[in-house]
C-alpha cells in the first residue's frame, strides 16, 4: 500500500519547528529539528543517571546489614530506620563523590592553609587518568559505529598498540623530544594494523567485522601472554609474565607535578576529541563516513567506495584504541603484564553508546565512567559497600540510555519526531 501520508515525519517536523531546543554538547547545530532531538538526548541521559543513582540507593539499603537491621524495627522507631537508611546512602554517595572529584573539607583546608593541594587534587587526577584510555578507545568505537562498522575489537587493538609502544619504548634510545612522539605514534600504528586486518577482510571477502574483531581480541590477548614470557619483551631476570619497563624518555610527562598521576595522555585524548569532532563534521572523509553509516547504498550509488571507507574506518578506530593502550602504558603503568587493559576495550563500547557516538559525548561518558570507577573504590574503602555497586550503577545508566523509550515512559516525556534509538548506530555530529 502506498502511504499517502507519513504521519510520524510530518507531525514530527511540524512539532519540532515549533520550538528549538537548547544546544547541547556538539556546537554549530543549526537545525531546529535536530536541536529538539539533541535536547532530548541530554534530558534522557540526565534522567538515566538520576534513575540509576536512585536504584543504586535502593540496592545499598537492601544490601546493608545495619540498614536492614534498623528497618527491622521500623514499626517501633520508624524515624530511626529511615534515618539510618538515608545516612547510609548519603555516606556512600558522598564517599563516591569525594573519591572521584574532590573532598570539600580537604579543599577548604587547602585553600585556608595553602597546603595539601596534592591530596585535594588526587581524586580528580585519578579520574582523568582512568578516563584517558576510555576516551581514546571510546572515540575509536564511536567512529566505527557512526560509519555503520561495529568494531568490537578495541580490546585487541589496545593491546596491539601497547605492545608496539612498549617495543619502541625499550628498544629505541633517543632523547625524550623524539622518543616520546615515536612511542605515541607506535601505539597508533600498532592499533591501526590490528584494525586493518578485519577491515581488509571485510572489504575483500565480506567477512563480518563483528566476528573478526572479536576473534582478533583473542589473538592479541594470547600474543601478549606469549610475548610477556619471551625475549625481548620479558623483563630480564624475571620468571613472571612481566614486560620490560618503559625508560624515562618513553613516559608521558605529568601535568601537575610528580605527586599526581594525571599526564599528557589526557591532553592527547582531549585533542583527539576536538580532532574527531572536526573530522566528522568538516572533513571530506568524515562526510563519506557519515554517508556510509547512514545509507551505504546511496553512498555507493553516488560513487563513494564503501570498501575503502570500511577499511579506513577500522584502521582509524584501531589507531585510537591503540593510543588508549599506549596512554596507560606510558602514562601510569610503564610495563605490561598479563591481563593488561582490563576491560577498557569493552567499556569503550559502552562509553560510545553512552556518548551517542559523538566525540564530546564520548568525553563526557568516559569521565562519568571513570568517576564512578574511581569513586566506587573510595566508597568501598570508606563505607565497606562493595565496588560492584558502582559497576551496577554503570550498568543501569547504560541500560536506561540504551532504552530511551523506557525513560520516556517512566518520566512521561513527550515523544519527539525522530527516534532516539536510531541515533545509537548513526550520525556522529549529524
Amino acid at each position: 500500500m502506498t502511504p499517502d501520508v507519513t504521519p510520524g515525519a510530518a507531525a514530527g517536523a511540524a512539532g519540532a519547528t515549533a520550538e528549538g531546543g537548547p544546544e547541547p554538547a556538539v556546537p554549530a547545530r543549526r537545525n531546529p529539528l535536530r536541536g529538539l532531538v539533541e535536547a532530548n538526548v541530554v534530558v534522557v541521559t540526565a534522567l538515566a543517571i538520576v534513575s540509576s543513582l536512585l536504584i543504586g540507593g535502593v540496592l545499598i539499603i537492601a544490601t546493608s546489614p545495619s540498614v536492614l537491621h534498623a528497618l527491622g524495627h521500623i514499626g517501633s522507631s520508624p524515624g530511626r530506620a529511615l534515618g539510618v537508611a538515608g545516612s547510609t546512602v548519603g555516606d556512600a554517595y558522598a564517599a563516591m563523590f569525594t573519591g572521584a572529584i574532590v573532598s570539600p573539607s580537604g579543599l577548604g583546608h587547602a585553600i585556608t592553609t595553602g597546603h595539601g593541594w596534592t591530596a585535594v587534587l588526587t581524586p580528580i587526577s585519578e579520574t582523568l587518568v582512568s578516563a584517558t584510555p576510555l576516551i581514546l578507545a571510546g572515540l575509536g568505537v564511536a567512529l566505527g559505529f557512526s560509519t555503520g562498522v561495529f568494531n568490537i575489537g578495541a580490546q585487541g587493538q589496545l593491546i596491539a598498540g601497547a605492545l608496539a609502544s612498549l617495543y619502541v619504548g625499550f628498544e629505541v634510545h633517543l632523547p625524550i623530544g623524539i622518543h616520546l612522539p615515536l612511542v605515541v605514534l607506535a601505539g597508533a600504528v600498532g592499533g591501526a594494523v590490528a584494525g586493518f586486518v578485519p577491515g581488509y577482510l571485510k572489504a575483500r571477502t565480506g567477512a563480518h567485522e563483528v566476528i573478526t574483531t572479536i576473534m582478533m581480541n583473542y589473538v592479541f590477548l594470547d600474543l601478549l601472554n606469549e610475548l610477556l614470557a619471551t625475549q625481548p619483551f620479558q623483563q630480564p631476570g624475571q620468571s613472571n609474565a612481566i614486560s620490560r619497563s618503559m625508560p624515562a624518555t618513553a613516559r608521558l610527562p605529568h601535568l601537575f607535578g610528580a605527586g599526581l598521576r594525571a599526564n599528557l595522555g589526557f591532553v592527547i585524548a582531549l585533542a583527539l576529541v576536538v580532532a574527531a569532532a572536526w573530522f566528522m563534521r568538516r572533513s571530506t572523509s568524515g562526510f563519506a563516513f557519515r554517508v556510509i553509516g547512514s545509507n551505504p547504498k546511496a553512498g555507493r550509488t553516488a560513487g563513494i567506495d564503501v570498501r575503502k571507507v570500511t577499511t579506513a574506518v577500522l584502521v582509524m578506530s584501531g589507531a585510537l584504541a591503540g593510543l588508549a593502550g599506549m596512554a596507560t602504558l606510558s602514562g601510569t603503568d610503564f610495563f605490561l603484564s598479563s591481563g593488561y587493559g582490563g576491560n577498557i576495550g569493552f567499556d569503550a563500547i559502552t562509553v560510545a553508546l553512552l556518548g551517542r557516538n559523538r566525540p564530546v559525548g564520548v568525553l563526557l561518558g568516559a569521565l562519568l565512567f571513570a568517576a564512578l570507577d574511581v569513586g566506587g573504590r573510595n566508597m568501598q574503602a570508606a563505607t565497606g559497600i562493595p565496588l560492584d555497586l558502582a559497576f551496577v550503577i554503570q550498568a543501569i545508566i547504560v541500560f536506561f540510555v540504551a532504552t530511551p523509550a523506557l525513560v520516556r515512559e517512566v518520566y512521561r516525556l513527550r515523544e519527539t519526531g525522530a527516534s532516539l534509538g536510531q541515533v545509537l548506530s548513526k550520525g556522529w555530529g549529524g
Partner: protein, 521 residues
C-alpha cells in the same frame, strides 16, 4: 452492500490526512477513488478497513453505523481488501492461501482441502477468475496472484472489495482482464472501491468517480461526464498538460552501445540475458516492461552498481562493463535510481549535503580534505531555485520532503555534472502530477542538449510519452525496439513476451473475458 462515509476526519498531529470526507458506494457499483499520492486515499482506506481510527465522522453499512477496531471486524462486515503488495504465502498453493485464516476443517482439525478446492472452483466460475487451486503461488504471474487475493476476499464473503492501486504491477492486458473481473463482480451485486491515480483506468472501469485532493473530496462525477483533462484538473487543482511537450529528436552518434550484456541478480539467476542496445546522443530510449524483467539489473550494470557477467557496455567507445560506480560517474553517466529513498538519498542528511553526495570531495566543495560548507550552502540555495525544490531550508533533512521534492533533489544532483548519458529508472514513481511534469521537462531538456537518455519505466504512459524509441524487455531479453507510435496494444503484448514483428494479436491465455481494448494514446 451500501457503504457510506460521513464526515470522516483523520488527523496525524497537525496534519489533516482526511478532512470531513463523504463517500457513498452503492451496491453493485464500481466506484473509483482518484487522487495523487498524498491526497489521503490510503488513509481513508485504512480507516475503512479498521487499520486506523477516525477522529471524527462515521461509517455506515446499509444504513447502520459501524466501527471497526481491526481488519478482522471489517472482514466480518463484508469488506475485503486487495493490497498493492500482496499478502500471500509464496510457497503455499492457491487453495491454501485462499483459506488461510478461515480454514475449513474436518474432524480432529484436519484441513479439508477438498472443500477448499471446491470453494475456489465455485467462486472462479461465478466471477470468471480463472485460477488453478493447486498451483503454488510463487510460480504464478503477478496478474494471477492478484486474482488469488481477490478470491481470498470473496471466499470471506466480501460484499465490498477495495482494490488499492491494483494495476501498478500489471501489463496492459492483465489490467484489461482485471477490469473484466471487476465488472463481473459488480454485475453480481458486489461493490468495488477502486483506488488509483491513473486517469485512463478510471475512465475505463468506473461507474462513479470520487476525486480527492489534500485530504478533501473535491467532487464526485461519472466517466461519461468527464474526460481525462477534467479529472486531472480536479485531481491537481489546476490545468495540467497530459502530454510531454517535446519536439522531434535529433539523434547524433551512438553514445551508449551495449552488446551481449548478461547480468545476474542476487540469487545468481540470469536477469539480463544477452541484451544489445544502443542509445544515441540527443534521443530518449525508453525501456518498457513489467517490473522484474531485468530492467533494474540493466540499469545497475550500466551505472557500475552490478558487474556484467558477459558482454560489453561502451560509453563513447570507453568500456564500462566491470567499472565501479565512481568510474561510471567520472565517465559521464548520471543515474536517477529506481528507489530514491534507498539508493538515491541519505534521508537523515540535509538537502545541501544530498545535493553534493557525488562531488562533495571536489572543488569548490572541498579543499585539502576539508569541506567548504559555504560553497555547499550556496550551491544548495541555487539548486533549490533552479530545480524548484520546495524545502523549508537547505538544512532540512531530505527525508522530510515530499516524494516529488526528494526526486528533484536527486535530479538536480545528477544533472549538476557534465553528463553524456542519463539513466533514469522509474523517474516519476510516486510523484504528484506537478512534479511529473517537471521531471519530464528536465529529461527532455537534457535530450535536446545532446545527452543520450535511457529511461526505464514500468508505466507505459510514461514510456510512450517520453521515448523517442521504445525497447521492450521481457524475462531479461529485449523483445524488440519500436517506435512509440506502435501503440499501447502492441507494446503491451511485447511486454508479455510477444515478438516485435507483427503477430496475430492473440489474447494472452490469462486474459479472461475479452474487454474492448483501450484506445491508444
Amino acid at each position: 452492500m451500501r457503504l457510506e462515509l460521513r464526515g470522516v476526519t483523520k488527523r496525524y498531529g497537525p496534519l489533516v490526512a482526511n478532512d470531513h470526507v463523504d463517500l457513498t458506494v452503492e451496491p453493485g457499483e464500481i466506484h473509483c477513488l482518484l487522487g495523487e499520492n498524498g491526497a489521503g486515499k490510503s488513509t481513508l482506506m485504512n480507516v475503512l478497513f479498521g487499520m486506523a481510527r477516525a477522529d471524527e465522522g462515521e461509517i455506515r453499512i446499509d444504513g447502520s453505523p459501524v466501527r471497526f477496531a481491526d481488519p478482522g471486524e471489517a472482514v466480518a462486515h463484508g469488506i475485503g481488501m486487495v493490497h498493492q503488495h500482496f499478502m500471500l504465502v509464496p510457497v503455499f498453493t492457491v487453495a491454501e492461501n485462499v483459506v488461510l485464516g478461515f480454514e475449513p476443517t474436518r474432524a480432529l482439525g484436519f484441513l479439508d482441502r477438498r472443500r477448499a478446492r471446491a470453494d475456489i472452483r465455485r467462486l472462479s466460475e461465478q466471477f470468471g477468475l480463472e485460477v488453478d487451486p493447486d498451483a503454488v503461488v510463487e510460480d504464478l504471474p503477478v496478474g494471477v496472484q492478484q486474482r488469488v487475493e481477490i478470491l481470498k476476499a470473496l471466499q470471506r464473503d466480501a460484499k465490498l472489495l477495495i482494490l488499492d492501486e491494483p494495476t501498478a504491477v500489471l501489463t496492459p492486458q492483465e489490467s484489461e482482464a482485471l477490469f473484466a473481473i471487476v465488472r463481473s463482480l459488480a454485475q453480481a451485486g458486489r461493490s468495488v472501491l477502486f483506488i488509483t491515480h491513473k486517469l485512463k483506468e478510471v475512465l475505463a472501469v468506473a461507474d462513479r468517480i470520487t476525486v480527492m485532493r489534500l485530504g478533501r473530496v473535491v467532487g464526485t462525477t461519472t466517466a461519461s461526464e468527464s474526460g481525462e483533462s477534467e479529472l486531472a484538473t480536479m485531481m491537481v487543482g489546476r490545468a495540467v498538460e497530459l502530454v510531454v511537450r517535446k519536439g522531434p529528436a535529433r539523434p547524433g552518434a551512438a553514445v551508449l552501445e551495449i552488446s551481449g550484456l548478461t547480468v545476474v541478480d542476487e540469487r545468481g539467476l540470469v536477469a539480463v540475458d544477452g541484451v544489445d542496445l544502443e542509445v544515441r546522443a540527443g534521443e530518449i530510449l525508453a525501456v518498457a516492461g513489467v517490473q522484474g524483467n531485468g530492467q533494474t539489473e540493466l540499469a545497475q550494470a550500466i551505472t557500475g552498481l552490478r558487474p556484467a557477467v558477459a558482454g560489453s557496455i561502451r560509453l563513447d567507445g570507453e568500456e564500462l562493463a566491470g567499472a565501479t560506480p565512481e568510474a561510471a560517474i567520472a565517465a559521464g553517466v548520471a543515474n536517477v535510481p529506481e528507489d530514491r529513498q534507498v539508493d538515491g538519498l541519505v534521508l537523515d542528511m540535509a538537502v545541501e549535503d544530498n545535493l553534493v553526495l557525488d562531488i562533495f570531495d571536489r572543488a569548490p566543495f572541498a579543499r585539502h580534505g576539508a569541506r567548504d560548507l559555504a560553497a555547499v550552502r550556496s550551491n544548495a540555495e541555487r539548486k533549490l531555485v533552479d530545480f524548484d525544490i520546495r524545502a523549508p531550508s537547505a538544512l532540512t533533512p531530505v527525508g522530510s520532503l515530499s516524494g516529488g521534492n526528494q526526486q528533484k533533489v536527486v535530479v538536480a544532483r545528477e544533472l549538476s555534472r557534465p553528463v553524456k548519458l542519463l539513466v533514469a529508472s522509474q523517474p516519476t514513481r510516486g510523484l504528484d502530477v506537478g512534479s511529473i511534469e517537471y521531471v519530464h521537462r528536465r529529461i527532455v531538456e537534457e535530450r535536446d542538449r545532446g545527452v543520450a537518455v535511457l529511461i526505464i519505466s514500468s508505466e507505459l504512459d510514461e514510456v510512450l510519452a517520453l521515448g523517442d524509441r521504445v525497447a521492450v524487455m521481457y524475462r531479461g531479453k529485449i523483445t524488440g525496439v519500436v517506435d512509440p507510435a506502435a501503440g499501447r496494444d502492441r507494446i503491451g503484448l511485447m511486454m508479455a513476451g510477444a515478438a516485435a514483428d507483427p503477430v496475430a494479436p492473440a489474447a494472452p491465455p490469462e486474459a479472461g473475458p475479452v474487454a474492448p481494448p483501450e484506445a491508444g494514446t
